[in-house]
Each structure stands twice: as C-alpha cells, then as structure tokens.
C-alpha cells in the first residue's frame, strides 16, 4: 500500500500538501474526522461566510481529501481519504493483472528468442 501511495501521482500529492498548508482546512479535516457535516455547519463552526467555507472545501475536494455530495439543498462533506485508499487498492489489483500477464509474456518471448537463434543457426549452416 505504501509503495502505491508513493507512486500515487505527484500532482495529487502537491494538491494535498497545498490543501493542508492552511490551518482552517486542517481544522475542517479534523472536524470531518469526527462526523460528516454540511457546508453550513462548517461555516458556523469556523465562523466564516458560506462563500469562504465553500472555497476551503473546494480546495480540499480538489486534493481528494474531502468528498461532497448534494442531497436536496444540502451539500454534505465527508473525509475523502477512503477514496484514495480505494484507488491505491484498485491500482494494485490492476498492477497484479498486468504483472501476471507479463510473467506469461516472458515465457512467450523466451521461446521466440530460442526459436530465432535456432533459425539463425540453421540459415548459416
């Protein structure tokens, strides 16, 4: 898992670091770690305008740290870390498929190499 988090695209990490560089945004993540909340809840808790809070949540969302979902008129925010984990797990499964394919391809390639070598020898004789 760690390997994959390391391989996880750099722009994603840069966006995450930028998102985490702000104290309010770190506070929002802490808050969402305790419970999901609407933008309105968060704005009240952090004594901020709705517009201001929307901006912060937008940055966190861009970085994949928060996921928002609109139900009716309320936009609910929750931690997006799970999605990153799911993505890393999916990438690992995807890698395993290609790895298994390529292991078999190694066998085919070795056989072709041997055949070419033998053909070459026959031609020279």
């Amino acid at each position: 898992m760690l390997n994959h988090m390391v391989q996880y695209n750099r722009t994603g990490f840069d966006a995450s670091f930028a998102a985490l560089s702000d104290g309010t945004r770190r506070g929002i993540l802490e808050q969402l770690g305790r419970a999901d909340a609407s933008i309105t809840d968060l704005a009240e808790k952090f004594r901020m305008t709705l517009t201001g809070m929307k901006k912060h949540v937008g940055v966190l969302e861009q970085a994949g740290l928060v996921i928002t979902e609109k139900v009716g008129r309320v936009r609910t925010c929750r931690l997006g870390l799970r999605r990153l984990e799911e993505e890393a797990a999916w990438l690992e499964r995807y890698r395993r498929l290609w790895d298994a394919r390529f292991d078999e391809l190694d066998g085919v390639v070795e056989e072709l190499k041997r055949k070419k070598k033998a053909d070459g020898r026959n031609k020279r004789q």
Partner: protein, 164 residues
C-alpha cells in the same frame, strides 16, 4: 530475475503501466501482434480466466475481439476495438469500444534499451470522471466470495480495455 511491473495514475485521466523484457523489440512486438501468441499470455492462468476466442487483425484500421471465460461465470466477456496505429517494433494504438463511445484509447510503445525492451502501456480516458468511474466500479465488490475473483478481474480488465 523477474522484471518489475509498475502502474501509475499519471494524470486525472491517464494510467501508465511499464515493464522491461529481456529481448529485442521486434520479438516483444511480435508477441503483441500475432493472435496465436497474444492468446498465450493476455489471459493469465493465475487469474482463472481463459480465452474462448482471440481475433486480432493487427494493422491500421484492423479490429480485435477477445472473448474470455471464467470458472465463476457462465457469461463470457467480450472486449473489442480497432487498431489506430501499428508501427512495426515500436508502437501500437487501439481503441476500446465495448463500453460504447468515449472508451479509453491504449498506446503501447516498445523502446529498445541495449539487449532489453521497455514496454510502456498508456491508457487515456475520455475524462477524469470516466477513469474515476472505472476505479469506483472496480472498488465495490458486492458479489460475495465466489465472485470476488471475477469481480476483481472484470474491474481490472474492464478498465484496461474498455470503459467510457
């Protein structure tokens, strides 16, 4: 020693797979372009899948159609598309059309490095959402244990060769 396969989400809508093979590019390329050879490695035994049929007319404008069977499923799975570029020993590009319009486009390059060949497989999706959806649908496994492997396979294979 076995060579390492890496996978990276290169951008919002791109996946990159890399692997080195200990052979010249023309040999590796041959294994990707002759259906009778492709058939021997594309459906790995360790994933419990097998080819029911493998047709590939590898030239620009030619089409492919792979049909797979799996022990845990009665339904065969078909993947198909068209070759857009075929440059001998160096480049293959094909579409993935079974998901309808907007499927991923796959580019494979074969780069000789001394006695080895670096293969880079690049999937580009129509949008960030298309790739996110492919990943999300592969992350949910509601089929129970018997279907887990199939689910896993479909998710990975599905995203590698299809999806809109």
């Amino acid at each position: 020693m076995k060579n390492h396969t890496t996978v990276e989400r290169k951008s919002e809508r791109e996946l990159i797979v890399t692997r080195t093979f200990n052979a010249p590019a023309r040999i590796v390329f041959e294994a990707w372009t002759k259906p009778e050879l492709l058939k021997r490695w594309w459906a790995p035994k360790s994933f419990g899948i097998s080819f029911l049929s493998c047709e590939a007319d590898v030239r620009v404008g030619g089409t492919y159609r792979f049909v797979f069977g799996h022990a845990a499923s009665e339904q065969p799975m078909a993947f198909f598309g068209r070759y857009i570029d075929v440059t001998p020993h160096s480049r293959l590009v094909w579409t993935n059309d079974e998901g309808g319009e907007g499927g991923a486009v796959t580019t494979v390059t074969f780069e000789e490095r001394g006695a080895d060949t670096l293969v880079v497989l690049h999937d580009i999706y129509a949008s960030k959402e298309a790739l996110d959806d492919a990943i999300a649908s592969g992350s949910t496994s509601g089929f129970g244990e018997a279907f887990e492997q199939l689910d896993e396979f479909l998710a990975t294979l599905g995203a590698s060769v299809e999806r809109s």
